[in-house]
Amino acid sequence: MTALVELSGLEVFYGASQALFGVDLSIEAGQAVALMGRNGMGKSTSIRALCRVQPVASGKVVFDGTDITGLPSFRAARLGIGLVPEGRRCFATLSVDENLIAAARPGYWTLETVRDFFPRLAERADQQASTLSGGEQQMLAIGRALMTNPRLLVLDEATEGLAPVIRKEIWETIAKLKAQGLSILIVDKTLAELKQIADACVILERGRSVWTGVPDAITEDLESRYLGV
């Protein structure tokens, strides 16, 4: 397997305050990697830096062998990074179909294949995005990212704020996408499901990557030290 993503020594600032102090992360093609850590440890900032939404002060972002550290976000996305942002953030006044069409890029994922994958979105095709339920909005956010035909799907808190039954549905969706060979970087708070789906885990603590390994190697000590509330 070859590394699809390499983050090395990432440092990010918000104004004068430093958020990342050197994050390292690697994702192989076809792998699902979980980015873990308590609130405010730099998970979303790392994702934003990877997707080039957030400028990087130092360090490197390499995607499929190309250094994308200086690229604007739309160019990074065109290379194959599909972001499902925290809080869904669908285009509220656009219809479901318009949300999907706006993101369309050539490839396997089209309006038809996304509708087949999420039949609920097909039923709501002409409905305004803001009127969808939380779960449907999450499906739309994932569908919208898939429409860009990404090689890496980045999910930031995809199950946050959803009812347990809907969360289960979203986890099943993510598992299906992984089974199709899509590389996935996922941030979530539900440890049990993350452990089931991830091939590798990276733990962040105060803006630094402090542990990398397979899910089974996460001990109770690690959990209480870095992942407990």
């Binding site: 739309f74 706006a102 369309a104």
Partner: protein, 325 residues
């Protein structure tokens, strides 16, 4: 696609009404009514142009008069050179509307590309001010350009020609303008239903989020701004032919304001919003202008009411919320 809505029915009634009234006026010998409706269709077309930038893309351009005026001057300058036989940049002028329209759109599009390339790097109040500044710059250039009439404007001695029609007959000129307006509306509807339109509407909500989907917001906005300028420029060329005069007033900031008023009154982003807005504005001017010279004061009251109580404009009041009503 959504089913046949109240707005679809309203649009059909307006499109037909716009055609039927001048036909009736022709048989009734009401030439003034035909000219009035021709003016409405031209202003509506200019509004359709602005509606692409403002309604779909949320770009509040306060300088669209520059494209309207440029279209008018393209018509006037080409017609003048065709009339006096003097070459223009080594070429002869033209009194053919089809040629003039192409030149008007090319000139307006070029201007929009240059102005957009600078102004679209800003947003909000800065975007409004920079588009206004550009328009005023070209306005002052036009009034100080003696070769083409300067402050007095440029008369078109013989109305430009259209193959197979006599443009000197008011009804035939109206039919040309109506046809062009319908084409402009079809372009707007096509853009809105396309991936380009969806991306443009998404950019209005959050350009950063759109960029994370692989779309360059600046490129999409610039393309929309250029198309918008070209449509408004075409309207300017038609207006010059209607009044047989390319006026620098068509480039003044008041014209830009008038176009925004048309959009707000009719309904921002609504397909037939500019048509309804233009009809209301011209109708208001004719009716209240005959009663009082302070008619613009009352227009201000109407505009205030539209902004405060009817955000969807007249189309919104009749047909309900946009698209999902």
């Amino acid at each position: 696609m959504p089913d046949f809505t109240k707005e679809h029915a309203l649009n059909a009634v307006i499109a037909l009404g716009l055609l039927v009234v001048p036909l009736w006026a022709y048989f009734a010998g009401e030439i003034f009514t035909i000219t009035l409706f021709t003016r409405i269709t031209i202003l509506a077309l200019a509004g359709v142009g602005l509606n692409i930038a403002l309604g779909l893309g949320g770009m509040v351009s306060f300088g669209h008069a520059v494209y309207f005026g440029a279209g008018g001057y393209a018509a006037g300058i080409l017609a003048q050179h065709a009339f006096n036989g003097a070459p223009l940049l080594g070429l002869s002028g033209s009194n053919q509307m089809l040629v003039i329209w192409l030149v008007a759109m090319a000139v307006s599009g070029l201007l929009a590309a240059v102005i957009g390339a600078f102004s679209l790097r800003t947003s909000g109040i800065f975007f409004i001010m920079i588009t206004l500044a550009f328009a005023q710059m070209f306005y002052y250039f036009a009034i100080s350009w003696p070769a083409y009439g300067g402050e007095d404007g440029l008369p078109i001695y013989v109305r430009n020609q259209f193959p197979g029609l006599n443009t000197m007959r008011p009804l035939e000129l109206f039919l040309i303008c109506w046809g062009v307006l319908m084409a402009g509306l079809a372009l707007f509807a096509t853009l809105r239903a396309s991936r380009f339109g969806a991306a443009l509407m998404a950019i209005r909500q959050n350009p950063d989020r759109v960029a994370s989907l692989g779309i360059n917001p600046f490129g999409i906005k610039l393309a929309a701004f250029v198309i918008s300028g070209m449509v408004t420029g075409l309207a300017g060329a038609l207006m010059a032919d209607l009044s047989r005069f390319a006026s620098p007033a068509g480039m003044a900031w008041t014209m830009s304001g008038e176009l925004i008023v048309i959009i707000i009154l009719g309904g921002t982003g609504r397909l037939f919003g500019p048509v309804v807005g233009a009809a209301f504005l011209v109708g208001f001017e004719v009716f209240f202008g005959g009663l009082t010279e302070h008619w613009k004061l009352w227009l201000g009251v109407v505009l205030l009411a539209a902004v405060l109580f009817g955000r969807g404009g007249i189309v919104g009041l009749i047909a309900g919320r946009e698209r999902f009503g």
